[in-house]
Amino acid sequence: RAAGSRTKLIVGTQDIAIQETVIASGVLDGLPFDLQWAVLPGPAAQLSGLYSKALDVGLMGDTSLIIEQGRAKLDWTEENAPLQIVAGWRNSDRAYPPVVTVVRNDAKINGLEDLRGRKWAYNFGGFNYLQYVLSRLKAGLKATDIQPVQLTDQFAAAAAFNAGRTDVYSGGLGAVHATVEKGDARILLISDELDIPSLTVFSARGDVIRDEAKAVALTEFLGRVRQHWEWFPSNLATVEKIYIEKLKQTPGDAKFFAANAASRFFPLNAELIRREQRIADVLFESGDLPKKIKVDIEFSQKFNNATSPAA
Amino acid sequence: MPLPDQRASFARPAAPAAVLLKDVSRSFADRAVLDQINLTIRPGEFVAVLGPSGTGKTTLLRLLAGLDQVDAGSIIVPAVRSVVFQEPRLVPAKRVWENVVLGRRGAAARARAGTALTEVGLAGHADAWPSTLSGGEAQRVALARALVREPGLLLLDEPFAALDALTRIKMHDLVLQLWQRHHPAVVLVTHDVDEAILLADRILVLSNGAIGVELPVGLSKPRDRADPLFAALRAQLLAELGVGASTAAH
């Protein structure tokens, strides 16, 4: 790299929410490197962006790399792991569970025992799917015991549930919260009860992590995002405004999502890796992963200091 | 030449007329192709129309067929009309026999088409596609198509132009036979003066948007080209068409 030229970091996101709030929080002022955002909806697009080096960092759910490693032809090792998670966050308040299993009130489902034979909407991939699998297992049901309604994303799954086409829904709460608040549905199970970490994470390419200059920039970037999370809870009105104006959310939705999005970084520690390992094992047993994997190599702890200085 | 008073005959609508044209005009791009034409044709009358190329003969036939509308004037014709167009106008996607009985199907239609095709000498081409026909064959199919119907008015636009002398004579006979059987009014456009004299009761010469000459043919049918009256009529018509005896011989 020619002397004097600035390092450039390209960060992918799935919508513009996080970049808008990060920018609004002012934490990017005086950034010592060039930061470029790229919006690519869906984990598949994020991964493509990373593999093709269009992105340095991508945003996805914490299960994406589990699936990625499980599907890989070559086994991942510390040296060749193409991608690693460098930071993960979620709302730590139990009142705002990231993923839930919800039932319609008119379906007369009083407990897990009533789930048998029901129409159950979920979307494949990520922790939404995990929520569905673990909820079903918790109810002691096999896939053949219910009427599964698989859709491509949680917006479609939520649309089916909200329109009363299914009795049960597993996935993000945001997409169905209006139905819940209207009193048409209620939450049956939250992800914490199923021990799903359900973190949103930044994954970086292995060569980005190893690149001195980029790693420095990434550390700086994550540190500033942490500052943004600190700024966030006390600026919910600003966030709501962004959600309304930029994301076109309804005021009701914006209020809900702003409160819901108020997150903090979770340290990528042994405890988290243990929980993630269990997820990988469950997915292997359910047949969704073709091989048994060790998830620890998916986590780079190199940036823990930037994300969780106290830990 | 005494022009019959068109207006007078038109004033008596009960008079036996199959075609009544009153002050009919038709213009294209401001050029009056037909300019206040008056014409009455009796039922069963055979009228031939001569005239230089581009003078409005086809336009007149299109008006009579109801395919074009007059710009001014009024026009009354029989409800059932049949036309041989200047081009064959066969539906390329239909076999020859289907074109003859266009719109009808079944064994009866097929048989009727067969008879008509035999009459025009094309029995062997009944199942052919129109695109494989020679120019004269296509024209004869179009003739067969017009003749299988029983029209009150038969409109023929140079129907024999692509035929050799012998075939042409046969087709003349065919048209005359049909005419004698059903007595439709016939309007035949032709460039062949002899043909006009052989077939028609009355010959019109169209030029410059008007009916220049109207000649009744006083010969009895069948007619003989050797008849001196025939020769006189021919000379008169050719002169009318701008072909003097000297020009005719080059």
Binding site: S48, S52, F155, K248 | P43, L67, V70
Partner: protein, 299 residues
């Protein structure tokens, strides 16, 4: 007078021929004289009926819709009422989204259409004119056309990156085929009688193409352009999944993720209006490019 539209009047509604009284032994006569004044009025009425119906049928849909939602026959989640949609439009315009989306999206569509259309036209001509061209290109293009681009956004990112060019590549890929197929069909549909004439008069390949085949195949080629233009708009929804911050495809995708069915329907309406605008533009192009054709009414 051989106005092609008049087919309906000519061939299919004999009622204009008022039967006159039968005058001689069973010979039924009809009066073909157009009633001049009536026909003047009726011509004007025809034009106005046309305009009214063209505008009216979408309006009728709108009306039924508003009534249905106004009387609560349809829940707003199922179908937002027209008033909701107007509010959504207000919002999109007030925030400047729509104003910034249209030029961006149109630019993407048009540049993709220009490139894809040119490629499709060229290959279509080549395959239409030379059998060997068909043999080489037809199979790959028949394959290309069934490629489901919607499912390929990740692969597209891998291949073409996340820049503006990647978005345009999506549109290019989507527009090649309609242009190809219609050009090919148009060229093959040229009456061989005309190309025979061109051959006899010593025209070479270039001249035959330029002076006989292209002009005669133009109606079909323009039909291809019509398709391709529509496809170029549709492909925006896929293209603008690739790192877009504006554009009508982006607005729709974003509304989808944020469950704003009113904005989705507003987006559909924007698309519909663009569809009609495309149609009008194509009608004008056809009018200009095909002066020899019996005119289709613009009204």
């Amino acid at each position: 007078m051989t106005d092609i539209v008049s087919l309906a009047q000519y061939a299919l509604s004999p009622k204009q021929e008022a039967p006159a009284a039968p005058q001689t032994k069973g010979l039924v006569l009809v009066d073909l004289t157009p009633r001049a004044r009536t026909s003047h009025l009726s011509a004007a009425w025809q034009v106005w009926r046309g305009r009214l119906l063209r505008v009216g049928s979408p309006l009728a849909i709108l009306l039924v819709w508003q009534i249905a939602s106004g009387f609560g026959f349809v829940a707003p989640e199922v179908l937002p009422s027209p008033l909701d949609i107007i509010a959504a439009f207000r919002e999109l315009i007030a925030m400047g989204d729509l104003q910034s989306a249209l030029p961006v999206s149109l630019y993407r569509s048009l540049s993709g259409l220009a490139i894809g259309g040119t490629i499709g036209l060229t290959i279509g001509l080549f395959a239409g004119l030379w059998r060997v061209g068909e043999e080489i290109f037809d199979a790959p293009l028949q394959m290309l056309r069934t490629i489901p681009f919607i499912a390929l956004v990740p692969l597209f990112i891998t291949w073409f990156g996340i820049d503006e060019s990647a978005k345009i590549v999506v549109i290019v890929a989507a527009t090649i085929f309609p242009m190809y197929l219609n050009t090919y069909a148009g060229v093959r549909g040229v009456d061989p009688k005309l190309t025979e004439a061109a051959k006899v008069f010593g025209l070479d390949a270039r001249q035959t193409t330029l002076h006989v085949i292209l002009p005669t195949a133009l109606p079909s080629i323009l039909l291809g352009l019509r398709y391709a233009a529509g496809v170029a708009l549709l492909a925006l929804v896929v293209a603008e999944q690739i790192n877009a911050r504006s554009g009508i495809g982006y607005i729709l995708n974003n509304a989808n993720m944020n469950q704003r069915s009113d904005i989705i329907v507003a987006g559909i309406i924007v698309y519909a209006v663009l569809g009609i605008a495309t149609d009008l533009v194509m009608r004008v192009i056809e009018r200009i490019a095909l002066p020899w054709r019996p005119k289709l009414a613009l009204a």
